[in-house]
């Protein structure tokens, strides 16, 4: 059996009112799309953030490619393991400027085409994009870092139905293209239709 991309071992993360996640262990396969599902407040997003060290566990450990994530250079780890949040974030400037923040030599046209956006958008101000376009731009910016894994935190929850289907197809195609994709979702349908594997997170007691 191939070594997993990520592994959680007996992880606990504390919140203000007790543990958000406790005694959590799971693995994420090196290839394909793994969905993390569970009820609201179960700690799904918190678990995702541990993989690129936007947060650290209070107990237990998290590994990437068999090595504790704490042993990596954190900035290097984050470029290799890209996190895209629930609400699309665009930075001041044009679409091309946004991509250049991830990589000054980024091929904007190729990246935009890869996420299903027209290269003609490159010179448009990023803050006038629709929510769906902005989320695709967030994905393009993540891809500009040349990652090995994508962490997606409810990436379609802010989108309308039409945009949602397109972004779901894009996510699936990225996983098929060889990226490790970890998708946090509260939608059982999305997990069933998109994922190769599912990690269920139980509600807090």
């Amino acid at each position: 059996m191939a070594e997993p991309r990520f592994a959680y071992r007996d992880v606990r993360v504390d919140g203000d009112d007790g543990p958000i996640v406790e005694h959590f262990s799971a693995t994420v396969a090196r290839t394909g799309l793994t969905a993390v599902v569970g009820p609201s407040g179960a700690g799904k997003s918190t678990l995702l953030r541990l993989l690129n060290r936007l947060d650290d566990p209070d107990a237990g450990d998290v590994s990437c490619d068999g090595r504790n994530v704490r042993d990596y250079d954190v900035l290097d780890l984050r470029r290799r393991v890209q996190h895209v949040g629930q609400v699309p974030v665009t930075f001041a400037g044009s679409v091309a400027d946004n991509l250049a923040m991830a990589d000054p030599d980024a091929d904007a046209d190729a990246l935009l085409e890869r996420v299903g956006l027209s290269p003609a958008l490159a010179d448009r101000r990023a803050d006038v994009l629709s929510v769906g376009e902005a989320q695709r731009l967030s994905l393009a910016r993540a891809l500009a870092c040349g990652p090995e894994a994508l962490l997606l935190d409810e990436p379609t929850s802010a989108l309308d139905t039409a945009s949602k289907g397109g972004v779901e197809q894009l996510i699936r195609s990225l996983a098929d293209g060889g990226l490790t994709v970890v998708l946090v979702t509260h939608e059982a349908r999305q997990a069933t239709e998109l994922a190769d594997a599912v990690i269920e997170v139980a509600a807090r007691a």
């Binding site: 690129n52 060290r53 890209q82 870092c145």
Partner: protein, 273 residues
């Protein structure tokens, strides 16, 4: 001829302000009474605050007056103690104002003390002022007071902005930026917010109002030309001191709001949006 004019002005000024008695101070309270009456008639509800402010200003200035009188009469070694008490009080005020920043008191004492020490150090090393208590304490108090406001503004603004824009900050961190790079836009804004009032005050000095040090010297009978020289030193000193305080407060606050692994501290991430 001009010297005679200056002398006449000095003589006149001394008659106006040089011998204010406590009876005169008590008479000036009628102006506080005006403020109380206005507050009462318009139902502003500030009568209590006005009375507390009047009493506190009287008690505090009376106390510092006696302390300075004692220090200036050959007890200059107490200069550092007086400045230390000022820094301590400013630290408590600024630290409390910015209490949502973890370790706010440590940030405040570092920024205020370094601003005071750095600015007074430059002034004495360049020979602009002597190390005499009569020079160091009043100028030090101006720097400390101004640095206190600057420090509070930087801490509060930086913390609030990073909390409000934490998604953008974390998106930057996710691209592999350091905490300093990720916080840079809000760090700049906080420093500008804190430094601009002093810069604006310096720009309009003499046009909108005669500043305190200059007014005090003129009322005490000094020549206006001597007064503006002191005032210029004071303004430049405050520009430097505030920049120093903003720099230290900004750097120290960032260190408190991010972990050494370039993560936002949890208290900032869990602020409701």
């Amino acid at each position: 001829m001009s010297m005679m004019v200056i002398a006449a002005v000095e003589h006149s000024s001394l008659n106006i302000s040089g011998n204010i008695s406590f009876t005169d101070v008590a008479l000036a309270l009628c102006l506080v009474a005006v403020a109380v009456v206005v507050s009462r008639i318009r139902e502003v509800g500030l009568e209590g605050d006005l009375l507390v402010a009047t009493f506190r200003s009287f008690a505090q200035l009376l106390a510092i007056g006696y302390v300075l009188d004692y220090v200036f009469r050959g007890h200059g070694v107490l200069t550092l103690v007086v400045l230390g008490v000022m820094v301590g009080t400013a630290t408590i005020t600024s630290g409390r104002r910015s209490r949502l920043v973890p370790g706010s008191y440590a940030v405040a004492v570092g920024a205020i003390a370094l601003a005071a020490a750095g600015t007074l150090g430059v002034l004495t090393l360049l020979g602009i002022i002597t190390t005499n208590a009569r020079a160091v304490i009043p100028l030090g108090s101006m720097i400390i007071s101004s640095a206190m406001n600057t420090t509070s503004l930087v801490m509060v603004r930086l913390r609030d902005d990073l909390a409000a824009h934490r998604r953008e900050v974390e998106a930057r961190l996710s691209l592999g930026q350091t905490s300093h790079q990720a916080a840079a836009p809000w760090h700049r804004t906080a420093m500008r917010t804190a430094m601009l009032p002093t810069i604006d005050q310096t720009k309009v000095v003499g046009l909108v109002a005669l500043p305190g040090a200059m007014t005090g010297m003129i009322l005490a009978g000094a020549s206006p030309l001597a007064a503006i020289r002191l005032q210029l030193v004071v303004m430049y000193m405050l520009l430097g001191g505030n920049a120093f305080a903003a720099l230290v407060a900004g750097e120290a606050t960032l260190r408190r709001l991010f972990t050494r692994h370039h993560q936002l501290v949890r208290s900032l991430r869990r602020v409701p949006t």
